[in-house]
Symmetry: C2
Subunit: 149 residues, 2 copies
DNA sequence: ATCCTATCTGCGATTTATTGTCAATTGGTT
DNA sequence: AACCAATTGACAATAAATCGCAGATAGGAT
């Protein structure tokens, strides 16, 4: 998504376009894969001297609540964020290099419904992460401990 | 799973059966749903005076690596653990009360394979959590912020 | 252009989950 | 009974994330 469109969306939602917020959004637009608050901070602190980590956290969480970005919780990795783009998808997490790749996969065609013992749950969403090794990484013993099936 | 069988399994893997470890395993056996390290600690500290939280963490992680228990990372919830029972399943997380329910659901019949741009990933596992509200909880505004789709 | 105020930010301190170190203890094998 | 590697407890140490608050500022109103 182009940065321009993102900025417009953010302003439409009633958020002010502060330099910090611009920098954060810009970092999100630039990154190929989901990034953590810390990574965003590392990128923008050079540009905006004096920017605080709090601001990054605050904004990412705020925008996650507003649905502008999506928070990705993968195992014991730190939370990562990506811009909410139109199509629903999930992620592949490399257990060796810890990079996250978007994969155009969702096993559910229709909204999920869940019932256990005739007891229905109200489902509002789901998260799916696929674990393994990317093409640049070889499986190693130390890394396989995280594997969940 | 009966506690006896679990203790046997643990000993077979070469772990000593210390009182602390017995207590932790017992707590896992007793709980209906996945529990966090803190919750386990709260349960056993009354029984074994002087037990440290460290021990609980160490054991849960150790047993997670050994495949005796499974670690469940759901959103920004704390890590929870459950005994590794035979059948593969996933979890429903209530956004209001934060309880976790096991659901006998897995959308994948066969091992997943993932390829993006003709680039194949080696898949070793996956995690799926379904979010929503359990039958005892009503959706509330403050709680819906966590929703992920 | 200036003003005004609700929104935002930076700072410093804090919380909370989790891990590391290491000496002392102990399970269970001999 | 003795031995020793596995295990534990105490304490310190991280690291991610949050909080409270005083000062700054975006951007609509004038």
């Amino acid at each position: 998504m182009e940065e321009r469109a993102v900025l417009d969306m953010v302003r439409q939602r009633g958020y002010r376009l502060t330099p910090q917020r611009r920098a954060i959004l810009s970092a999100l637009c630039r990154s190929q894969s989901p990034v953590s608050a810390g990574e965003v901070y590392d990128q923008i602190k050079h540009l905006l001297a004096g920017t605080s980590v709090d601001t990054v956290y605050r904004n990412l969480n705020q925008m996650a609540e507003a649905g502008i970005v999506v928070a990705i919780h993968a195992g014991r990795e730190v939370v990562r964020f990506e811009l909410q783009v139109g199509d629903h998808h999930h992620h592949f997490v490399c257990l060796a290099c810890h990079r996250i790749f978007c994969i155009p996969l969702c096993p559910f065609e229709a909204p999920v419904s869940v019932a256990v013992d005739g007891h229905a749950f109200k489902v509002t969403g789901h998260s799916l992460e696929v674990y393994g090794y990317c093409s640049q990484c070889e499986p190693s013993e130390e890394a396989t401990s995280d594997v969940r099936v």
